[in-house]
């Protein structure tokens, strides 16, 4: 009896110690995570706060300090009236440029990638693997290398300094990635489905539309998010191949920071940066969980 009681109290003590240790480790882990999250978030916080501060107040108290004023003027200026290189229209034109570039480029490159993936996984032909390997090279070649060729091509097509030129570039540059994503996803769809559909009398397009596409939403969401953020945030091609009113927002942001006459308008710059960052952020907020799910799909099994 006494032994049993002793055992019990020992058990109890051991359990308390274990619980305390568990709590401590959790505390350390979450603490570290919070610190890292804060490190990542602080720059964003500074920019967000500055976009609502008064320019004079920023000049007085420094870039990094708690706000003493609250104004929305900077947002309005950044959107529609601020002068960049002589035109005083704010960022709106460039924002629309970015949309006009990103949406079609994302859509077309995703669709082409899905088609390529479908062919390379379900309608293999002699040399299709070699072709796929060649397409994959595009994943590893940095954009800078293709600057000269693109300059040549856009010049010949008469598409330099135009949003359509950028659409073309981003579609082509994106195909490697979208093809890789879709092909690897479609490989996991059983070939028997395709065979059954062929016996059922469905052809190439009908199988794609009725069987492959309805199964593709996870990978299409991943591809769209990947392409949208990539194309929207792309700077190099935008700044090299367009100027002034044709520039996408990323290139225009740099022009804005360079165009200040004497006083640096930190409030407007902050608002402009946030306007430029908003669409990918929204896409990620809405599609983020599909993104993570889609990326890991097929990894297990």
């Amino acid at each position: 009896m006494a032994d049993a009681a002793l055992d019990q109290s020992l058990d109890h003590r051991a359990a308390t110690v274990a619980a305390r240790r568990h709590f401590l480790t959790r505390f350390v882990i979450y603490g570290l995570l919070v610190i890292f999250a804060a490190i990542y978030l602080i720059p964003l916080l500074v920019v967000v706060l500055n976009s609502f501060r008064d320019q004079q107040e920023i000049a007085r108290n420094g870039l990094i300090s708690l706000p003493r004023s609250f104004r929305l003027d900077a947002w309005g200026q950044a959107w529609s009236t601020y002068c960049i290189g002589g035109t005083c229209e704010g960022m709106q034109r460039n924002f629309y440029n970015s949309l006009k570039m990103t949406i079609p480029a994302t859509f077309i490159s995703t669709l082409v990638g899905a088609m390529n993936g479908y062919i390379l996984s379900k309608w293999r032909f002699r040399g299709s693997e070699a072709l796929f390997t060649c397409m994959l090279l595009g994943v590893f070649i940095p954009g800078q290398i293709s600057l000269m060729p693109w300059a040549f091509i856009l010049g010949n097509l008469g598409l330099s300094n135009s949003v359509y030129g950028l659409v073309l570039i981003h579609v082509i540059q994106g195909i490697s990635f979208t093809t890789l994503f879709c092909r690897n996803y479609y490989v996991s769809i059983p070939d028997d489905l395709i065979k059954a559909a062929r016996i059922d009398g469905a052809g190439f397009w009908r199988i794609f539309r009725k069987i492959i596409l309805p199964l593709s939403s996870p990978i299409l969401i991943v591809t769209v998010i990947w392409q949208f953020t990539g194309i929207w945030n792309e700077y190099l091609f935008g700044v090299v191949f367009t100027s002034g009113q044709q520039q996408p927002i990323t290139a225009a942001l740099v022009a804005l920071t360079a165009s200040g006459t004497n006083v640096r308008a930190y409030d407007v710059m902050s608002a402009a940066v946030l306007i430029g960052a908003l669409p990918p952020l929204l896409i990620y907020l809405f599609g983020g969980k599909y993104f993570v799910r889609g990326l890991t799909q097929g990894a297990i099994k």
Partner: protein, 368 residues
């Protein structure tokens, strides 16, 4: 009326010859089973009949029409896959109508066909569900429904029962047999399970290494296997093979074997032998043709030969008991009635039904 004729069909994958000249034919309404171990080419053969694999050389004719280069959809066939291959994003109804929709069958006709097939297979309550919500047996039914709805010339089954558990497999086997009886369509059925082949088929093609070893009725395949491969593959437990020598017993041909006591026993041969029969033979005896010897049996059945063997192991299965016996330095399996089971370590006198025994030539492995 629908027949299938295959003449000297060959298939190469690169340098590998997968099918080496296949000849097969199915009469109208026949149920042909293609059976063989994995890698024997049976699934490739079926895929070629379906038009999913190209033909290297030879001919495939459906109803007398050469279909070598006809697309799968124009061959008027239906196929049931091992994985069922149901379209996962479609409901059962959509799965069944997909083929008709591809062929632009009018909607009322489609509805009628679905109704007919669903009633036939008793899957009406499932029509609105997705394949993911079905059990294995239900998926199997839907897969058959998709094939049935088309009313094709030829049914092709590619190991349709391998993904089911043992009990369901037996049930579905019966269903398929009933189905074939009612529908009466010419069917080609691929399986690696010799029991499925035996129970379902009107004729069986046993395949091995890209060749048809024997193409005949189940009883013939079982009782008079063309060679040692067929003999060993069909039947479970497998046929016992014993090396033996040709001898004579009372003026009649016999085979000499080593018995348990080291002496040579002579078993008289019932069949008449050709003059060029080799001296060295392989005697093939199925486990169920080995009995515990008793004089009664010998009187009832002519051709019972007597031989002593040591019982090494006894494996009761309930309905019957398998015994591993040592005979002539080799282990053989006998199938006994549980009541008359020999005991482990015992030396029993066996009665071997020589009328049912098969003799093989050890060099060519062919039946003598």
């Amino acid at each position: 009326m629908s027949t299938l004729t295959i003449r000297s069909l060959r298939k190469n994958f690169g340098a590998v010859e997968v099918l080496k000249g296949i000849d097969l034919e199915a009469q109208n309404g026949e149920f042909i089973a293609l059976v063989g171990p994995s890698g024997c080419g049976k699934s490739t053969l079926l895929a070629m009949i379906a038009g999913l694999e190209s033909v290297t050389s030879g001919e495939i004719c459906i109803d007398g029409r050469l279909v070598n280069s006809v697309a799968p959809k124009d061959r008027d066939i239906a196929m049931v896959f091992q994985s069922y291959a149901l379209y996962p994003t479609m409901t059962v109804r959509e799965n069944i109508t997909f083929g008709m929709e591809s062929r632009r069958v009018p909607k009322p006709q489609q509805d009628e066909a679905v109704k007919r097939v669903a009633a036939f297979l008793q899957i009406e309550p499932l029509l609105g569900r997705k394949p993911g919500q079905l059990s294995g047996g239900q998926r199997q039914r839907v897969a058959m429904g998709r094939a049935l709805v088309r009313d094709p010339k030829l049914f092709l089954f590619d190991e349709p029962l391998s993904n089911l558990d043992a009990k369901l497999r037996v049930d579905m086997r019966t269903e398929i047999k009933k189905l074939h009886h009612r529908v009466g369509k010419t069917t080609v059925y691929v399986t690696h399970d010799q029991v499925e082949a035996m129970t379902l088929a009107s004729r069986i093609a046993v395949m091995h290494q890209g060749e048809v070893q024997q193409f005949d009725e189940p009883a013939t395949i079982y009782n008079r296997p063309a060679n040692m491969f067929v003999a060993g593959f069909m039947g479970s437990p497998a046929m016992n093979f014993l090396p033996a020598e040709l001898s004579e017993e009372g003026g009649r041909p016999a085979v000499a074997l080593q018995a348990a006591d080291g002496k040579t026993a002579s078993l008289p041969i019932v069949q008449t032998l050709a003059s060029d029969t080799p001296r060295k033979l392989v005697l093939g005896i199925r486990p169920e043709h080995i009995y515990r010897f008793d004089p009664d049996l010998a009187r009832r059945k002519p051709g019972i030969a007597q031989i002593d063997a040591m019982v090494e192991l006894v494996e009761p299965t309930g309905a019957e008991t398998m015994a591993v016996l040592r005979l002539g330095g080799k282990e053989i399996t006998g199938r006994f009635d549980p009541d008359g089971t020999p005991l482990m370590g015992e030396t029993v006198t066996l009665g071997i039904d020589m009328a049912r025994a098969c003799l093989f030539d050890p060099t060519t492995q062919r039946l003598i």
